[in-house]
Subunit: 485 residues, 2 copies
Amino acid sequence: MTFSAAGSLLFSPFAIRGLRLANRVVLPAMVTRLAGEDGFVNAEITARYLRHARGEPGLMVLEAMGVHDAKSGPLLRASHARYVPGLRGLVERVHGETPVKVAAQIIHFLKISRSGWREKIQDIDRAAIDAVVEAYGEAALRIREAGFDAVELHMAHAYTLSSFLSRRNDRHDEYGGRSLENRLRAPSRVLRRVRERVGTDFPIGVRFDGEEAIKGGYSVADAALFAVRFAHLSADYLSVSAGGKFEDAVHHPGEPLYPYTGYSGDRCMPSAGYPDGLNVYLAEGIRRALRERGLEVPVIASGKIRTPEMAEATLREGRADLIGMARQLLADPDWPRKVRAGRGETVVPCVYNNVCKALDERFHRVRCTLWRRRDLHAPEAPADRDAPRWPAQAALSARAHDGRVRLEWTPALDEEGVYGYMVLRSEGAGPFHHVDSARGVAHRFEDAGALGGVPYRYRIVAYDMAGNRSEPLGPAAVTLPPFDA
Amino acid sequence: MTFSAAGSLLFSPFAIRGLRLANRVVLPAMVTRLAGEDGFVNAEITARYLRHARGEPGLMVLEAMGVHDAKSGPLLRASHARYVPGLRGLVERVHGETPVKVAAQIIHFLKISRSGWREKIQDIDRAAIDAVVEAYGEAALRIREAGFDAVELHMAHAYTLSSFLSRRNDRHDEYGGRSLENRLRAPSRVLRRVRERVGTDFPIGVRFDGEEAIKGGYSVADAALFAVRFAHLSADYLSVSAGGKFEDAVHHPGEPLYPYTGYSGDRCMPSAGYPDGLNVYLAEGIRRALRERGLEVPVIASGKIRTPEMAEATLREGRADLIGMARQLLADPDWPRKVRAGRGETVVPCVYNNVCKALDERFHRVRCTLWRRRDLHAPEAPADRDAPRWPAQAALSARAHDGRVRLEWTPALDEEGVYGYMVLRSEGAGPFHHVDSARGVAHRFEDAGALGGVPYRYRIVAYDMAGNRSEPLGPAAVTLPPFDA
């Protein structure tokens, strides 16, 4: 099936409580680590989100902003009126320059230390819970005052509200794990308080886990009931994530515990070895439970959805209402614009090697492994229609080495510079598939995922910053030694 | 959609290398802990599998049997000729009394100790690998000699061959983790050796993980290539499991490490909070990769597939060729016979609370939580058409307590005794759904999964050992206190 934007659901408008999105692609909140410790919007934050907005997703959710002033790594804040002007300036620029709607995700988190210790929800008293509720309400109001189109409450992953929802909630009081209703109490209070503060005409979204992906954690059965509650409390969209918990995080001595280091972190941001759309079943199960109860709140699916074909099918099959796309939009913010224009073949495909995640973990500024080495943002696509080309006598070599295939190729030529190389592979006489990419400065690649005895052919395609692609170089044929005892 | 056995794929025959199965329901290997430490077939093992066979799945896979003589808990063995007569006696009885085909799963495992220490594949030398290969070959031949219809090689979960396949394989030699081909070497040698020993006309199955469900583990991308290799080495069916690894296992001091205690164990045997058919995507992805390469080896999907509707849809949609069903067939071995006869409403539904798994973990004999307290096997369905009935003035009460619903009911009456009670729940005026079951001796139940403010109605249905169901008692209405800060 070839995707066509005309007549697609993906590129048809969608309304969230009167907020009209031009299409159904959503950029979910992604930490950038571009903010300082001071929590203010700065030039790099502004540049990052303007870059995203120029790609024209229907909705863009700014990274989590603290509702309180606790110590953390680099993080935006919505915890005081002093942050409002900076946020307003950013939103005004997005609205002034693009048709993109902008939400802000707001977050509360507990303390962590370099010893590996972390504060848990059972360590905080009722007054502290009251303060969390109040802080969310005030922060949400600031988000509205800053001119955002919506506010999104972070109830996913390892953070305070998610820990209340968890089946691993260890409290024994009315906020405690012994019943679903008690686990829902603090999140419900937050949602109600936020609605009181922002009024009835301002869209509120909730991001939460469809599955915790930890031992003894919850999955769709509970998540569907959370969704019902959120809908009853007038949430306007539900954005479904997975995992990202502290419970299975690996502590690196001397570093604060980072909640994406266990399998639940893998499940949150599935890497190349996982199938596309791995977590769609979560959004699907939640949406079905809502619709069975006559609740029409829209549901965002996410997790390695990267092709327009899969995005469209997910919408057509009624598995979700909107498509969240984080890492692919980090790799190439112009995905929506390019796909809508029928130029999907100029998209720079995400390789899902999670270098971005590793940077976040180390509090480094989050970049894409495919960007040029010194760039802090995806490059602008220049008005360039000239694809990279191969010099005369350009060659691609492929040889077997220790169970892997080593490729080496002649650098391609381009006026503006080669931005990257795509490695394509076929089995026998079969079709070529993209297996990975390398930056424009690299001219070699190692494939550790090949089977012995299978005749592979490789090709290299060079692309420039406009996404123009060269003719393929190759094929180079190679067969790893067949299995032989 | 109501299921009808007539015209279904599920109850149509299926051939595996000339082995004709009467239907497409497979009982996967499940540890019973009924064997002694001596490894011989005994009366209880025989009784367990005859009970399963009388339910008439198309294929029944006997629990893992050691290919070697290492110390373990209770475990069947295929490690010496002395075990063959006992195995032959069991197979002959199954063949004599039922139409069911019988495979034997054979396993190699490394040492574990009560200290939590475990031997790893990087601790063993090449001679030890040679010995594993040889032991599999000899054990498989014994399985053939014992009259089994097929042999299944255990390459899943925490065991030796799965550890070679793992992305966490830490060896640095030609059996090591640096390439897919190296990780496949030991399993490939085993499969080839087994084929050499059993000949070309004896079916060989491979059970392996479609996903490890651990940090840094493999998923479908690798599993699909394993499947291609297994097909090239003449595997006759591929049975897809998930998780069950040592890497995320929780060590209980003084107990040997048990590989189903982490999330990967939850994913292997998903409990009630997970959606049905959670792992079908693994079989689906593997099967697609095989078919794209013109490989026709059948694929078994498993993991909380419990309804004939889902089983049939999974086959119709080409996501799998055969349906594995373990815990549901433990709860009620007669599922295939009942469903085929159009009496699906007499099936005793599994409640997926994993008491069976907890018993296995403690080396206790594995039973179902729904069986009568002292029974070692599912009871035979008597020729009884009289359903349990409620005494005059029978009552069901439902009350709210601490965020949960407490139900209590009058015991039902039955000539042969009430076998169990099903708890049904509806929201508002909606349909009633089965939420859990209790044994016949219990007359109360607590529902911790209800939402405040939702008007629930509960009903209780009593059933006898033939599966005859009473009229529903109730409804009893209850609403937990609505959410209120």
